[in-house]
């Protein structure tokens, strides 16, 4: 049995093409059903996000399966096959396993380490499980992919560092202030980045927002948006001590917060630390504020630098992640290849036994002077013959799991003796698991 992957991603296709082949989650049942009705396709899962559209499937016929899925993607979306084909990639066997493990671990993402993709694959798998298009192999495969992704996330620092300025600010704030749920943010001035950062702080649990702006109406409007409190710009220094995080981005030509102000504010809050973030150019906060005890000052350049360092770290951590994936592929591949051994042996025995019984019945039916113990003897004779004949192939098959030739043997046996193909919901297999 083989796992195949067919799809396209931001690496091979522009957004115009990606949106044309996207599968809407609201109507995912139809394509899933069509997918598993394709000839030779046994199980299927469709993953469709804004950055990639991929189909994972199992088949006996790799080349045919891939071709049929490619055609299916074009036909389902009423696109000319030729125009789509050049954007599609496909993987099978080990490279398919590697690809899915990498995607789930966010190594193939546009921003390496971003956490959404794992959730998206889980949702996609959820649909496939709900509509019964995935079966024993893909179930096991995707659960393995989820656990690999989890391993990558916990054992490497791939997702541990912020790669946007706003997130870098939140991370730093947590390192200074600990839990943000009882902390207040003060916004001085306005500006896209400032507001974005404030939003991030609120999403990370910050308690409240104070807004100061030269135009009080604007401050009031922003405060309303954030569910915070507006403060008059003229008196914002009076409120400095109420904030644990101060985000400043006014258009002022000179500094509006000096070391004295910071010192005063820290003192008024009984030396609890304040985290100053200066997003303005030219600067709003005097660099000397950094020397005030229990005040921590970061400018947008500092944050930018952190982001750059984190990006470099991520690509370094990605190498560790690849090692983890290498290990896990080996394990999964082994499971996959030994998966069919037992059912094949059972099917082979049943086949032989069927023939034996049929021939036995025929012989006995046409026998006239039937000695009393002949049936017993014949039964024993044929059974012994069958067992002897089957002994060598069975033991070779059982041992071939380690050698890696098992796929070949299973395929050969199934074709030579016309054994039935593995079903999607093979109960025997469920038991074996």
């Amino acid at each position: 049995m083989n796992i195949i992957v067919v799809g396209l991603s931001y690496k091979t296709a522009t957004v115009e093409i990606r949106e044309k082949v996207a599968f809407s989650p609201n109507q995912i049942e139809k394509p899933l059903n069509e997918l598993i009705r394709l000839e030779g396709i046994i199980e299927g899962v469709i993953v469709s996000t804004c950055n990639r559209v991929e189909i994972y499937a199992t088949t006996r016929d790799i080349a045919g399966g891939i071709a049929r899925i490619k055609r299916f993607m074009a036909e389902y979306h009423h696109l000319p096959f030729e125009s789509l084909e050049s954007h599609l990639y496909s993987y099978h066997a080990e490279s398919a396993i590697r690809h899915v493990f990498r995607v789930a671990s966010s190594l193939d993402s546009m921003i390496v380490g971003e956490p959404q993709i794992l959730g998206q694959i889980k949702t996609s798998y959820g649909y496939a499980a709900e509509f019964k298009s995935s079966g024993i192999i893909l179930n096991r495969f995707l659960h393995k992919a989820f656990s690999v992704a989890k391993r990558v996330r916990t054992e490497t620092k791939i997702a541990s560092s912020a790669v946007s300025v706003a997130f870098a600010a939140v991370e730093l704030a947590k390192k200074i202030l600990g839990d943000l749920s009882d902390k207040n943010v003060m916004l001085i001035g306005a500006g896209e980045m400032c507001e974005l950062a404030a939003k991030h702080f609120l999403n990370s649990g910050a308690k409240g927002v104070l807004v100061a702006n030269r135009t009080f109406e604007r401050a009031e409007r922003l405060a309303e948006d954030f569910g915070g409190e507006a403060v008059r710009f003229e008196s914002f220094l009076e409120h400095l001590h109420r904030a644990d995080i101060i985000l400043s981005s006014t258009g002022a030509p000179h500094c509006i917060i000096g070391p004295r102000d910071a010192e005063e504010a820290v003192k008024r809050r009984r030396f609890k630390p304040i985290f100053f973030i200066d997003i303005a150019v030219p600067r709003d906060i005097d660099p000397m504020v950094a020397d005030v005890e229990n005040a921590y000052l970061y400018t947008v350049d500092d944050l930018q630098e952190i982001v750059q360092a984190n990006l470099a770290l991520r690509s370094l951590e990605a190498e560790k992640a690849e090692e983890i994936i290498d290990q896990e592929i080996g394990q999964f591949h082994k499971w996959l290849s030994t998966l069919e051994v037992t059912p094949t042996i059972v099917a082979l025995r049943n086949r032989f036994d069927e023939i034996r019984r049929a021939e036995l019945d025929k012989t006995i039916a046409g026998w006239k002077d039937f000695p009393p113990d002949a049936e017993k003897r014949l039964e024993a004779l044929t059974l012994a013959m069958m067992n002897k004949l089957l002994h060598a192939p069975t033991s070779v098959l059982k041992q071939s799991g380690q050698g890696g030739r098992v796929d070949l043997y299973v395929d050969a046996l199934r074709q030579l003796f016309e054994l039935e193909a593995l079903q999607r919901n093979d109960e025997e297999l469920e038991l074996e698991e």
């Binding site: 054992e155 730093l172 600990g178 030396f271 952190i306």
Partner: protein, 266 residues
């Protein structure tokens, strides 16, 4: 038997210390898990060895430097395990467990002649006094460890060196909180220890306070931590100042513990 437990304890503490230090370098959940487990095993072995010794000798093993160092180490490890459970600060182990290990090794290197227990020590007030003192010392040790971590983390934040160690260390706020908690537990216990110690002194020698070196220095320790706690509660002393003061406090504790013999017993 005691010796066997002791070897086991040293080995386990050694492994735990190595694992905690490794935690600083690598991020592996298994590493943290096993560091904690091995330390817990070590602590159990240490406790059993102490109990075994106590049962054999029919008194708490706190009567000479060897026994005291070992007990100090046990108290530190126990306090650390409690704080780690509560605040999930693995990195604290990298600072604290090696200290406990060194104390234990130092304790084993001291050779002490077997001796009769001086009658002066055969008082319940003495046992109570010593026990309280060690628990408070253990709290101060944790506070000092956290203070060192705080200063390192503060340095990283101020100079914007945000490397791997920065990521590992807890937030300033968490460390501040642990340090405060250590003080609020340690200082009252020290107070109790000093009071029970002087009661014992009265029972044994007829005098509550004899101004020997140990007593004097204990009083100095008490004053340092009292000042720290007072500053914290009234003015809000925290951060760098509090960290430096609790490191000074700990140095004085060590100095008193190692350098100041009780004029009456040792």
């Amino acid at each position: 038997m005691t010796h066997l437990f002791f070897i086991l304890t040293v080995t386990l503490y050694g492994c735990a210390a190595a694992l905690y230090l490794a935690c600083l370098l690598r991020t592996l959940p298994l590493l943290t898990l096993w560091a904690g487990r091995i330390l817990a095993f070590g602590c159990t072995a240490h406790l059993l060895s102490t109990i075994h010794l106590a049962v054999n000798m029919k008194y708490l093993p706190l009567t000479n430097m060897q026994e005291s160092l070992s007990f100090f180490s046990l108290a530190i490890v126990t306090a650390f395990i409690v704080f780690e459970r509560k605040y999930k600060v693995t990195t604290l182990g990298s600072f604290i467990v090696p200290v406990a290990l060194m104390m234990l090794i130092a304790s084993s290197s001291l050779h002490v002649e077997a001796r009769q227990l001086p009658p002066i020590l055969q008082s319940n007030w003495f046992w109570f006094h010593a026990l309280m003192a060690f628990i408070s010392y253990a709290c101060f040790t944790i506070a000092a460890g956290v203070a060192v971590m705080y200063l390192i983390q503060r340095y990283f934040l101020k100079t914007k060196h945000l490397g791997a160690l920065f990521q590992k260390l807890p937030s300033l706020e968490t460390m501040d909180e642990i340090s405060y908690r250590c003080l609020t537990v340690g200082w009252p216990l020290l107070t109790v220890a000093i009071i029970s110690g002087s009661i014992w002194s009265e029972k044994a020698m007829g005098n509550y306070w004899i101004w020997d070196r140990k007593q004097t220095w204990s009083l100095i320790i008490w004053l340092i931590y009292a000042a720290l706690l007072h500053g914290r509660i009234t003015i809000g002393w925290r951060g760098k100042r509090a960290a430096i003061l609790s490191i000074i406090g700990f140095i004085v504790v060590l100095f008193t513990f190692l350098g100041m013999k009780h004029s009456i017993i040792w």
